[in-house]
């Protein structure tokens, strides 16, 4: 049985002749935070809109809780909380009045749901201030309150920290983490800020120009991007055996037939090269790499744009 709460197959959205999203296969695991990372205009919002049925895919399929979204909206969408793009509320109403409208529409049974949601994001209950008088940060907080008010199992949050001050960002971060850890929510969050995703996400998808370039756990990504010694040799299988036998080292990755990465930087490169040669291997390249997570993302996405 699939453990994926969200699964997309070849999800594509084409506007005119321009593909906003191309053949995306997204896999969001149950009870984890999935960070969708990409520069502005990469296709994050379009993907999220398709996951919520706000935009119809040109081709491909969205499955949530193993059910196809199309035709099952009435069953699936009430279990999802979302924040897409800018906060959308009625400017002539207060925060409480706005939430009351959506609580009524959703048929939220909990009478304290509005107060609880506002408390959670640090906004006053029954305040007389109208939404139009709110700062961007307050608007964003209210949008988060709306997303969690009906206690959804899945949260889809598009750039939720936009407009928040540093304290607000930290609060929202720990609040999202708590929702996942303590309440078992599954959260899909998008951002163009690498540090945010690296601080929050368990799994990361890197999207660029509408294509999902990478999808793996943050730990795997960090390992990929960590400091290492890179060897280009004639036979990586034999090189791996040498490392294990002669150096008792197994913290390395075989990239292909000729490239191998060693993550233990304390080992002397010279001695390793000598050992490789002594075992009949040709060594054409050996150097240490110091690539940060940011360098890695830049390389994967083509070199620029991610903060």
């Amino acid at each position: 049985m699939s453990d994926y709460l969200i699964e997309t197959k070849q999800l594509t959205k084409i506007y005119g002749e321009q593909a906003a999203v191309k053949n995306i296969d997204l896999h969001v695991k149950r009870g984890r935070i999935y960070g969708l990372l990409g520069r502005n205009g990469a296709g994050k919002t379009t993907t999220m809109k398709m996951l919520l049925g706000l935009t119809q895919p040109t081709s491909g399929e969205v499955k949530i809780w193993r059910k196809t979204l199309r035709g099952n909206e009435k069953k699936l969408l009430p279990r999802i909380g979302s924040l897409i793009e800018s906060p959308g509320f009625y400017p002539n109403l207060t925060a409480t009045e706005n939430l009351r409208i959506f609580a009524t529409l959703r048929g939220v049974p909990n009478r304290h749901a509005i107060k609880d949601a506002l408390d959670l994001v640090g906004l006053p209950y029954k305040d007389k201030k109208l939404f139009s008088q709110y700062s961007l940060g307050m608007k964003q907080r209210l949008a988060i309150a709306l997303a969690v008010m009906h206690d959804p199992e899945l949260l889809i949050l598009d750039e939720p920290i936009n407009g928040l001050d540093p304290i607000g960002i930290a609060e929202v971060r720990s609040f999202i983490r708590e929702l996942c850890d303590a309440r078992g929510k599954t959260i899909l969050i998008s951002s163009h800020i690498l540090s945010e995703i690296s601080l929050l996400a368990d799994d990361v998808g890197i999207i660029d120009h509408g294509t999902l370039l990478e999808e793996e756990s943050l730990a795997e990504l960090e390992q990929k991007s960590s400091k290492h010694i890179h060897f280009t040799v004639s036979n990586t299988s034999q090189a791996a055996r040498v490392l294990e036998r002669d150096f008792q080292e197994n913290h390395f990755s075989v990239l292909d037939d000729h490239n191998i990465q060693l993550y233990n930087l304390t080992l002397p490169i010279g001695k390793i090269v000598t050992a490789f040669v002594a075992n009949g291997l040709e060594v054409s390249e050996a150097h240490s790499c110091e690539e940060s997570l940011e360098d890695y993302f830049k390389r994967v996405t083509g070199g620029e744009g991610i903060a």
């Binding site: 706000l54 800018s86 509320f89 002539n92 959506f102 009524t104 529409l105």
Partner: protein
């Protein structure tokens, strides 16, 4: 649907466009007063004032006011970015617009009460002698029928312009001319068929003998408009309107 209608009423709180509607209706009544008193030797009567208000309502003020207020309430779901929050509940567009149309009719009722009461108060203030229960009943009934028929007549415009952001503004302009054209048809037999003038027929508005009112024709036209509006709603719902 009841929840939707309830929330639609909540959205009208501190909603300035409603005041614009009230001012528009008030202008219609004031214009009728000037029209009635502006001519020499004119007889100022409650019936005459009421007829003037009805005439200004259907031909000048009601069509565009209805499209403006209801169209704006639909349009704000786009401009305030609230539509995405409603669609993910999920609430379909057809149900959302239907609820707005129903609540819009609630506003028509408020407009009718406001028009009727203000017209009566002005007639009292002007010292009209023909004010009695029978004349009040006729005035209230005629205003109600004309308002309702006007609202039905503009429904297709409201629905057609609901599909895209800010399209309602062109609907407001069109509905003004739609109502204005009624002036030229009101004294012809086309009065039975022109949607905007069906209210005159059904309320038995004062007319000369050359014109023959055929209420069944007018009712048929209004039913056809309601059916057409429902078809438009279905088309709107089926159209791929990505947000």
């Amino acid at each position: 649907m009841i929840r939707l209608i309830k929330t639609e009423f909540l959205k009208y709180k501190r909603y300035n466009i409603v005041w614009l509607g009230i001012v528009s209706i008030f202008f219609s009544i004031i214009l009728a007063v000037f029209q009635l008193t502006g001519t020499k030797n004119s007889i100022v009567s409650y019936a005459g004032l009421s007829e003037g208000v009805i005439w200004n309502h259907f031909s000048l003020f009601l069509p565009f006011t209805f499209v403006l207020v209801v169209g704006y309430s639909i349009n704000r779901e786009y401009t305030d970015f609230t539509l995405k929050n409603i669609l993910v509940i999920p609430v379909s567009r057809i149900r959302l617009i239907m609820s707005k149309i129903i609540v819009g009719y609630g506003l028509v009722i408020i407009e009718w009460i406001f028009s009727s009461v203000i017209t009566l108060l002005i007639a009292l203030f002007m010292g009209c002698e023909d004010i009695n229960i029978a004349s009040c009943a006729i005035s209230f009934k005629q205003l109600f029928i004309v308002s309702t028929c006007c609202y039905i007549a503009v429904l297709p415009i409201i629905i057609i312009t609901a599909g895209k952001q800010n399209r309602f503004l062109s609907g407001v302009i069109f509905s003004f001319f739609y109502g204005f054209c009624g002036i030229f048809l009101a004294d012809r037999n086309l009065v039975n068929l022109y949607p905007m003038t069906t209210g005159l027929v059904l309320s038995n508005y004062a007319h000369d003998d050359k014109i023959i009112y055929t209420p069944s024709l007018s009712i048929g036209v209004l039913i056809a408009i309601l059916c057409f509006s429902f078809v438009l709603l279905l088309v709107l719902n089926r159209k791929n309107n990505d947000l």
